[in-house]
């Protein structure tokens, strides 16, 4: 039988084929009395809650805390956060999956986001991504992915290595960068955005 054609990019969504497991209980607000939450995780979530007049606004801080604790947002982590916030886990997973930075699957803890948006791709970002994937794609500790504009078009093509912006990255520098990422070294220190002076000539003049 002919295979039904699927758009690869549309079926990246794991949930589309997800049926409910009828043996599970409905996911109501987890009762604090019967949900154990690691103390560090609880403390981090409660710290987030303090920043809002309405405590259950702290969804994003809570999800960051879960991701920090587990390396991704596993169901049990979401349940724990839900127990602390007093909301259903579904309310949290709805939010988590809306945002690009929350990982719903266990991937490498080291994140490498390569901007592939217009300005960067005008400067060779697609090639950079391919090269980094070539170097690091197999490494289970590293999560290399193309990303939308990271707000650093002045250093195109660029990447954010665990939040550290580096660029412009020449293709020749990729093996070195890959090595640094694997070993947990500071990525291309000379290329880091934070060290870059302003481009404005009036600044340079002064």
């Amino acid at each position: 039988m002919a295979e039904v054609r699927r758009f690869t990019h549309d079926s990246r969504i794991p949930g589309w084929d997800r049926a409910a497991d009828l043996d599970k209980e409905p996911a109501v607000v987890p009762d604090a009395a019967t949900t154990e939450v690691p103390p560090e995780l609880r403390a981090a979530i409660e710290d987030g809650m303090r920043r809002f007049p309405v405590g259950d606004s702290a969804f994003i801080p809570a999800l960051y805390a879960v991701q920090e604790h587990y390396g991704w947002c596993p169901p049990e982590g979401i349940e724990q956060a839900a127990a602390v916030l007093g909301r259903t886990p579904a309310a949290l997973s709805a939010v988590a999956t809306f945002y690009d930075m929350f990982e719903m699957e266990q991937l490498g803890r080291k994140s490498v986001y390569v901007c592939t948006n217009i300005s960067c791709s005008l400067c060779g970002a697609d090639e950079l991504l391919a090269a980094l994937e070539g170097e690091l794609g197999e490494d289970p500790d590293v999560n290399v992915r193309g990303f939308e504009c990271l707000g650093a078009c002045d250093i195109a093509p660029m990447a954010s290595v665990n939040g550290v912006y580096v660029g412009p990255i020449g293709l020749g520098e990729v093996p070195e960068l890959a090595r640094q990422i694997r070993q947990g070294d500071d990525p291309l220190p000379e290329r880091q955005l934070l060290r870059r002076p302003s481009a404005d000539p009036k600044v340079a003049e002064k």
Partner: protein, 823 residues
């Protein structure tokens, strides 16, 4: 909260001048007042304010350069609207083309086909062709979303209705959207099923066939079925329903939206328990006990035997009448008892009678709040009841009031309420201490706080004070939504007095938008009382010439041999009455038990001598009275199943055989006579009731309601809540799912509750009990088993068990204190 005032504005729609209330959304106004349909998908006024997501409703408004969403623009004076220009047409066609990009054209095998808003909108406003040549998405379908609901994600048009229902109407927050943009999909958390008291609404509310009812799937096409409007009698909320009938079978129940009753929603019991009409377990022929077992017999034999048994017992007959009994059946039963048998021992209230004067005071028309009042009041005090279990649809109304109209919700209950989270304040008291709590609260309101009353209620004095402060500051329109249990049991009269004093403190008598609203124990409790199915009242709540025994006394008299026969009209005392032990003895002793029942519930199975099949609510005709005094009409929607006969006719025949023919030739004759006999129903007729019913308390005839003594009453000191002393106080509740219909419906059976033992974390720790393990709850040698359920919100020192669970009901235990230990 004053209801929105209707100020009319004039606007022009497609060249025609239209008058509509200011603030109404254009799409509603155009349809209702201008006869112009603006197509919509995501919008429905009953979910709350519009979100403007689907963009189906774009229209042009002069003076505004961009097209506007008709669902979310309020009409204003002088507005000039066009819904039929080429620009609008192009936008409508485009939206439909966009929506149909990924919508599969599987209408021939879709349950929604023929009653599908997407089909209708595509037909009415679509361009008729698509330029989309890319392959559509295909995914596995249909998938189970719950045992009751199937989801077909290909068909979903992301209109947000279902998730908004879950998040903003039922507020269970289980159904959500995940991912973003075109990848968005409707789902639950991590593959958990969507199981919640109101989940089924989404199958009716989905504008395409993405969410369908599993029990209804592939059972019929819209043109195979007929819609029959009636009223659901499975609980006191009496939602207006429409049965989808095919070949004399109910295949589905839909809402027959009534703003004064249900706001267009149903609970899952109301939506799916129709299945119990058509199951083998249902009793559909008369039966008699023969050699200890119930066996089918002919009608003649059954009637003859019943008549013989009753005639033998004569005035020594008692009758218990269940809430699903209609007014007409109630009238005829009262005739049978009082006229034919000479007995006044009949009751429709479990647990004992209330002084008739107090009952009148509580039912006084000037003191009755309506269902919509719950949505608009300044404050609602939920007192000694749990709406989601006791009259589920009211739970949604309260949530709506809080969410959209700023109603201040206050709760006084023993068991933590599902509404606590939405409440401005919740106070707890010891089980059974509603009387003391109400008294403490009115003392607070009177400015005489009483620590001893609060202590007697097992409540925290500060808590009572806080609740009173909230009530005092709320505003004039206060509704007290109270549960019958407050006025049941040996101290029912005192409970009623305390409640009336509270209402008096708040000045509720005669107040528009405020008052009392009772959630009684039975569906038609209000009607049954009003037509005299009480030991101390005759029709029209008049004094009974001779007062008889109430339900508790009937049980005692049977046990003592003072009564010998009992009629159980839609009532199983082992499930419905507070003490199972008493009723085990009573029924064991009775020489004749005549039951009218749909299922072989424990009392019927073990004790009935003659069993008459009860009509289901889809087979019945007659009237019932909503707790807010709305008289509603039941209509026969299907023919009676099996050998079932009309029960009104049976009751009339029994009376005739016993020598007092009520001369009831048709059911409507009984209704007509009743409207004449009940002074405050005067002028009502079945035709007048029509499909929407009438609140008698709003009519002129209400003036002839019997007068009642006025509060304040002097109260005697309530007994103090039992002190646990190492034991636990026993609290009980009846779950929405604890009903024979739920147990009998294949689709719902999974919800029929097992006993669970709710305790606080501190008590659990003290008793060494873990969550989910088997525990035993015992008192006086009786015991009940269940799974331990530790709840943070459970009050310390109290254990909660469910009633109405065959075999393990809380009614098996005497209380007030029980011992809990691991099994």
């Amino acid at each position: 909260m004053p209801r929105p005032v209707e100020k009319l504005v004039s606007l022009t729609i497609n060249g025609n001048e239209v008058q509509a209330p200011a603030g109404m959304m254009l799409a509603d106004a155009a349809l209702k007042y201008g006869d112009v349909e603006i197509p919509v998908f995501c919008y429905d006024a009953k979910i709350g304010p519009p979100v403007g997501a689907c963009r189906m409703c774009l229209v042009e408004i002069e003076g505004i350069p961009k097209m506007q969403a008709g669902c979310s623009v309020a009409v204003t004076d002088g507005m000039v609207v066009h819904t039929d220009t080429p620009t609008v047409k192009a936008a409508q066609e485009a939206v439909l083309e966009f929506i149909l990009i990924n919508h599969p054209l599987d209408c021939p095998v879709c349950d929604k086909g023929g009653e599908c808003p997407l089909q209708d909108n595509a037909f009415g406003w679509g361009g008729g062709l698509s330029r989309f040549v890319e392959p559509k998405r295909h995914f596995e379908k249909p998938l189970a979303l719950s045992p009751l609901i199937a989801i077909d994600r290909e068909r979903c048009i992301l209109c947000y209705r279902c998730v908004r229902f879950s998040q903003e109407v039922s507020e269970d927050d289980q159904l959500v959207l995940e991912e973003r943009g075109a990848d968005t999909f409707v789902t639950t958390f991590d593959g958990h099923p969507y199981v919640a008291p109101f989940s089924g609404n989404i199958t009716e509310f989905c504008p395409v066939g993405a969410l369908t009812s599993r029990p209804y799937r592939f059972r019929a096409r819209p043109w195979d079925i007929e819609q029959a409007g009636s009223v659901c009698t499975l609980c006191p909320a009496q939602c207006n329903v429409s049965f989808s009938v095919r070949d004399e079978r109910v295949l589905r129940v839909l809402s027959r939206e009534h703003d004064g009753v249900d706001d267009g929603w149903l609970c899952d019991k109301g939506r799916f328990a129709y299945q119990a009409i058509h199951v083998d377990a249902r009793i559909t022929e008369p039966m008699m006990r023969d050699g200890g077992e119930l066996r089918p017999v002919t009608w003649d034999l059954a009637i003859e035997t019943a008549a013989k048994l009753l005639s033998h017992a004569g005035a020594n007959t008692g009758a218990l009448v269940g809430g699903e009994t209609t007014n007409e059946e109630g009238v005829l039963l009262a005739h049978l008892m009082r006229e034919a048998l000479g007995s006044n021992d009949l009751d429709s209230r479990p647990g004992g009678a209330l002084e008739i004067e107090l009952l009148r005071a509580l039912s006084a028309p000037t003191l009755q709040a309506s269902v919509p009042d719950l949505q608009y009041a300044h404050a609602v005090l939920v007192l000694d009841c749990e709406p989601v279990d006791d009259a589920p649809i009211l739970d949604l109304r309260l949530r709506k009031g809080v969410r959209h109209h700023g109603v201040k919700l206050l709760i006084g209950s023993s068991r933590p309420s599902a509404l606590d989270e939405r409440a401005a304040h919740s106070a707890r008291f010891a089980p059974g201490c509603g009387e003391a709590f109400a008294a403490a609260l009115s003392a607070e309101l009177a400015g005489q706080p009483s620590a001893s009353l609060a202590a007697a209620a097992g409540a925290d004095a500060d808590d009572v004070g806080a609740l009173a402060a909230q009530l005092r500051e709320a505003g004039d329109e206060v509704v007290i939504l109270w549960g019958e249990r407050l006025t049941a049991g040996p101290r029912g009269n005192e409970g009623a007095r305390a409640l009336l004093n509270l209402a008096e403190q708040l000045g509720l008598d005669g107040r528009d938008g405020g008052g009392l609203l009772e959630i009684p124990s039975g569906t038609n409790s209000r009607g049954l009382r009003e037509v005299g199915v009480l030991p101390n009242a005759s029709i029209g709540l008049a004094d009974a010439p001779t007062a008889g025994r109430d339900s508790q006394q009937i049980g005692e008299a049977l046990a003592d041999g003072d009564l010998s026969a009992v009629i159980l009209l839609h009532s199983d005392p082992l499930l419905d009455q507070p003490s199972s032990a008493l009723w085990q003895r009573a029924l064991g002793k009775a020489s004749a038990v005549i039951a009218h029942a749909a299922f072989l519930t424990p009392a019927v199975l073990e004790h009935a001598n003659v069993v008459f099949p009860a009509e289901s609510y889809a087979e019945k005709e007659g009237t019932v009275v909503h707790p807010d005094s709305r008289v509603q009409r039941l209509r026969r929607s299907i023919s009676r199943q099996g050998e079932t006969r009309a029960e009104w006719a049976l009751l009339a025949e029994l009376a005739a055989r016993l020598g007092s023919d009520p001369k009831a030739l048709t059911c409507s004759m009984v209704s007509a006579r009743m409207f004449e006999q009940v002074p405050f129903y005067a002028g009502l007729s079945l035709d007048l009731l029509g499909g929407v019913g009438i609140r008698w308390s709003e009519r002129e005839a209400a003036a002839s309601f019997p007068s009642a003594p006025a509060a304040p009453f002097t109260l005697d000191a309530p007994p103090a809540a039992a002190s646990p002393n190492g034991l636990l106080r026993l609290g009980s509740f009846r779950s929405i799912w604890a009903s024979p219909e739920v147990e009998a419906s294949p689709a719902l059976a999974f919800l029929h509750p097992r006993q669970r033992v709710e305790i606080s974390p501190a008590d659990a720790a003290r008793l060494g009990i873990n969550h989910g393990e088997n525990v035993t709850v015992a008192s006086n040698g009786d015991f009940v088993e269940g799974l331990a359920h530790i709840r943070t919100s459970a009050p310390d020192g109290t254990v909660f068990l469910q009633t109405a669970i065959p075999g393990d009901s809380a009614a098996l235990l005497e209380g007030p204190l029980v011992e809990v230990k691991r099994s």
